[in-house]
Amino acid sequence: MTACRLGSVPPVELVVATSWSGAGVETLNQELIKIGHDLGPVSIDLRFLSATALHDHLLRSQPSRSEVLFDLALVPNDWLGQLLEREVIAEIPPAQVENMQRRLVSQALQAVSEHERVLACPLSAEVLALVYDPQRFPSPPGSLDEILTSPMPAEVLPLALNLLSPYHLAPFVSAYQGSLVDPEGNLLWHEDNLLRVLRHLAPLWARAGAWRACRGDDVESLQLQLFAEGKLASFVAGPELLAALEASGRPFAVMPLPAPADARHPARALVGYQCLAVLRESRWVDLALEVGTRLLDDDVNQRLNRKSRRLPVLMRSYQSQEAMASAGAVGFLRALEEGQLFPPAANWGEGFQRVADRLQRLRRQSQAPGPEGIALTAAGERP
């Protein structure tokens, strides 16, 4: 019909890709809908992909302009370097950067900046900390050794972590070697330090089920259940588990990860940021940037992080103590404060990915290695 041709102005549709799930994605979707309403007739769709699929899509494909599937992507900041290198994402314009400088904690801005270029809008912070049972540890453990050597009933594991994740091992590795980043932004990951960590943890695996509790498809759920049932005294977790911990009914406390007793440095956890990057090929780059800016509005960002139990990035959240609403959150904030920021550099991301791929080999080992098999295990071979 003629009338149809007359209405040729295409509706504005933005697609945001994310690997968030649960309360996070629900809250994010609600906020995006509100922003879409505020922006006028703008439809903002949230597309869920697994982290691997999102990573593959953004980094391994070279979509042409006509095949652009997403306008924005919610990604960890360590992807930004690679995304920039492959010209996938657009930089944040100076006017918005100024606004971010006024309102964000400096670390958040640093996490998304490379050579004074700001690559994305940081929405929330991520850090790992030690969740422990205060009934098992009346006072916060001072070292990894103290956790591992604490007297525990046989059915109770003193500690669990995810051996397949370099994020879980990195704080302990860095406790032996100091920084994990060289001046060029490369990952510093000495295998002998990893070996020292694994050897340090070896007594843990002597306990029944410990090896199983430290590796698996859904190790977070297993650790949480073990903790909730009193079968685990402590484990390494992120703030997104706070809601589940609170719902479990089990008392818990959170503190920064303690270092091994023989380490010379503190076990500084890696601090990452979830950030919204605007894809360069988006048809609506300005609008997409505006969406990113609006997700940093005080109320929006606080709501988003409060409901998804993520750590805030706004100075206001810290000044108003909004971020410290619960005891658990305070523990994670301390870990954030003491943690080490990894750079959004392409070489860092690639190095970290190589370590992660190597650690995946541990998945195949169903039996815990003995002390003599640690080296082979660390090398990804069957002892």
Partner: protein
């Protein structure tokens, strides 16, 4: 309101009414098709969501059977880390949120994933509320039902029984799927929001479950995408049974779709409507104005012709090129004008004959005066000094013919007296212009001719009669008649004397130019005489009315409105 306004307005009303009808029909068709499309889209979304939900439930049933097999092969389940680890692997593999194993009423083990199935977030009571399902479960048959206690989040329970360790003992495996926004988020297509209902109760909604016990799906309509005018339309809703549960109820998918396309269609329709109306108004104004001009031009000519006729412009003729009723009307007008003019001309003719009979003048003199006057007027016109309308030419003709009509009121003895006139006789003679004017005035509509006749004996220097006007105070036509009358008198042969030669007459005229005569008129007259001398009849106007009145052939005056 004037006729033009009425015509334009009627066109405008007609076109606007058409535009309204076209626009309304277009809008209705557009809205109807858009609403239909919205419904079809929602039905497709429901189809897709039903399919995905069906697949999910099939996956849950499969995982339940797998877990039953696990239970059957594992003996009594203890919550050791190895067992929990293996079960978590299974849960992770199938994406199950919670599974519970019961031996009788004793819970052997419970496994849950942290994201959705933890603690108080999920209905943990597993025994079916429906007695029928409870009996089915107790009998060891597989069953699927919704566990939706008022005060806790709803979940879908899939239960099956496996043989227990003892004789006749049974163990049950209960898989729990939270019926929450997370499930809906995975099965609903983009831009569609909705919920899951069971027995009229809203169990879950995406993107958010409304607060309150009597939560209504319409409460989440605020999350629908908005667009222009979309608030004018209610969201399209659709309910579809997706899963038949063992208690006889159904898990119903309730979907809402944004009326944004309808709003956009309305916008497009209104835009079209506006364009059609604007185009229509333009066309109506152009057509109405054009038609009005075409209709009104002859009417206005008729009006002006009638008014001119009323003012005595007897030479009025209207164009008769049209073949329609207006053309016929104009032809009728011309015929009427001709008849009126002929009536006048009849009267003038009669008077002219009376003058002929009364004075010495021959008919030739009257004819000559008229012809010379008209020829002089032509020369004046040609020289650009003056422009005569057809009416003015008619009036000049009439005045030239009747310039001495006043003499019929003077006694023949005085008029024909050859000796000197007495004072009273002279006064009578001097009064004849006034008398002539009065006679012509009484004919009606010839006031201008009467005035010309009244002044036809006034001299350029003010020495004439009856009022002693001078120069431009004397009508031009009067100055022309005075000159040509004098000239013709000079050259006319009389019974008692011969007329003067032309050269002498011209010299005489020139000698009185500026005194008795208007020099401009004299020069024009001299040109007429000179041309006539070289080419007899060539200089005279061929529109001599008097010759026409006398029945001699003439060329009719050109058609003109005035």
């Amino acid at each position: 309101m004037k006729l033009r306004g009425q015509l334009v307005l009627s066109h405008l009303v007609l076109v606007l009414a058409s535009a309204m009808v076209i626009g309304a029909v277009n809008l209705l068709v557009l809205l109807g098709s858009t609403r239909s499309l919205e419904r079809q889209t929602l039905e497709s979304a429901a189809e897709s969501a039903s399919h995905l939900l069906g697949e999910r439930i099939a996956m849950l049933q499969h995982s339940r059977d797998e877990l039953a097999l696990f239970a059957a092969n594992s003996g009594e389940l203890h919550g050791d880390t190895e067992t929990l680890g293996r079960l978590h692997d299974l849960l992770g593999h199938y994406g199950i949120e919670r599974v519970e194993f019961f031996s009788g009423f004793r819970k052997e083990i419970e496994v849950y994933r942290w994201e959705r199935g933890v603690g108080a977030h999920l209905a943990t009571a597993w025994l079916p509320q429906s007695p029928g399902i409870a009996a089915q479960v107790a009998a060891g048959r597989s069953a699927t039902w919704v566990q939706a206690a008022r005060d806790e989040p709803a979940s879908l329970k899939l239960c099956t029984a496996v043989p227990g360790s003892g004789e006749g003992e049974r163990r049950w495996v209960v898989v729990t799927e939270p019926l929450d926004s997370g499930l809906l988020e995975h099965i609903l297509p983009a831009k569609v929001i909705g919920g899951l209902e069971n027995e009229g109760r809203l169990l879950a909604a995406w993107p958010a479950m409304p607060a309150g016990r009597d939560a209504d799906l319409n409460q989440i309509a605020v999350f629908l995408p908005r667009g222009p005018f979309s608030s004018l339309f209610s969201p399209i809703s659709l309910r579809r049974d997706t899963v038949q549960l063992d208690d006889g109820s159904a898990l119903k998918l309730a979907l809402l779709a944004s009326p944004t396309p309808s709003g956009q269609s309305l916008l497009v329709g209104l835009r079209t409507w506006f364009l059609v109306a604007a185009g229509g108004i333009f066309v109506a104004l152009a057509l109405g104005s054009g038609l009005a001009s075409r209709l009104l031009a002859p009417l206005r000519a008729l009006l002006e012709g009638t008014a001119a006729m009323a003012r005595g412009h007897l030479m009025v003729r209207l164009p008769t090129s049209r073949n329609d009723e207006l053309g016929a009307l104009m032809r009728e007008f011309n015929r009427m004008a001709d008849e009126i003019r002929n009536t006048y001309l009849g009267v003038i003719s009669t008077l002219a004959e009376v003058v002929e009979a009364k004075s010495h003048y021959t008919r030739l003199h009257i004819e000559q005066v008229e012809r010379l006057a008209m020829a002089t007027a032509d020369v004046l016109e040609r020289r650009g000094w003056v422009r005569f309308s057809s009416h003015q030419r008619f009036v000049l003709s009439v005045a030239a013919i009747l310039h001495d009509v006043g003499k019929i009121a003077i006694a023949n003895e005085i008029l024909n007296k050859s000796g000197p006139l007495e004072t009273h006789e002279r006064e009578q003679i001097l009064s004849h212009p006034e008398m002539g004017a009065l006679i012509v005035e009484r004919i009606g509509k010839l006031e201008r001719a009467a005035e010309i006749i009244r002044c036809a004996h006034e001299h350029f220097d003010g020495s004439g009669y009856p009022r002693g006007l001078k120069g431009e105070e004397i009508p031009l036509e009067s100055r022309i008649i005075l000159a040509v009358d004098a000239f013709d008198a000079m050259i006319m042969d009389r019974p008692y004397s011969n007329g003067r030669p032309l050269e002498a007459a011209i010299a005489e005229l020139r000698s009185h130019a500026g005194h008795q005569f208007d020099p401009v008129v004299i020069e024009a007259l001299v040109e007429v005489i000179t041309v006539e001398q070289k080419q007899p009849g060539g200089a005279f106007s061929d529109s001599g009315m008097y010759r026409a009145l006398a029945g001699e052939p003439t060329t009719p005056p050109p058609a003109s409105r005035e």
